[in-house]
């Protein structure tokens, strides 16, 4: 292992790997949520029944109700 590798490796593993893992899982959760809400809003404009919206978006009814105002 070269000098540079010895020095840089702990950084790559502890820093970048954590960042990657955290970023991917956070991003996934946010993206899914965002898409659910986005779709639900468009369906609400068309007055789709709340059950249908829940079915297609995967949101709970309680999560859809606040969007109705």
């Amino acid at each position: 292992m070269s000098w540079k590798e010895t020095i840089a490796m702990p950084y790559v593993t502890s820093w970048e790997r954590i960042a990657r893992k955290k970023g991917i899982s956070d991003g996934r959760v946010k993206g899914i949520k965002e898409n659910k809400l986005e779709t639900a809003k468009k369906m609400l404009i068309d007055n789709l029944p709340i059950d249908t919206i829940a079915k297609y978006t995967g949101l709970a009814k309680d999560e859809i109700r606040p969007l109705m105002q």
């Binding site: 540079k4 020095i7 840089a8 950084y11 790559v12 502890s14 820093w15 970048e16 954590i18 960042a19 990657r20 955290k22 970023g23 991917i24 899982s25 956070d26 991003g27 996934r28 959760v29 946010k30 993206g31 899914i32 965002e34 898409n35 659910k36 986005e38 779709t39 468009k42 369906m43 079915k55 297609y56 978006t57 995967g58």
Partner: protein, 163 residues
Amino acid sequence: MTFPVVKIIDYKDRLAELEQSTNPMALVVAAQLKSLEAKKADIHTKYDVKLQLFKDCFKKGYTKDQIHILIKFIDWIINLPEKYQEKLNDQLLILKEENIMPYVTSWERIARKKAIKEHALESAKKMLVDDVSIETIVKYTGLAKNEIKRLMHGAAIPLHENR
């Protein structure tokens, strides 16, 4: 082989200038100067100087390799008793964690985009099962017609998009 010679002391009155610079060598010189002054000071001041220098390493957008080398260098020129060094190590860990954020957000952006698409496809599938029209699915999911047709046919059947 010849090297240009620089007298660190000459930069003593130009500390502000050094602090503005984005050149990593400016930080090295500033660290040297500060360490010279800290030598005369008490432990607490030395500790503060060292911590501040560590913080400066993260500010200028250096690469992680540069940051690592700068930290090693600063660690080497300012010596602290073990008790203080341990405290400093904890601080350094916090600093590293705080500065992970830009990396996290770049990964996050990619994963978010991918998840939005994935979930849109997921919703589209459910609507297709219920025989919702393609136009309606396009409207609600924001997906392209092609993408929805691809879902209908399954991946096995090639799609002739131009027909």
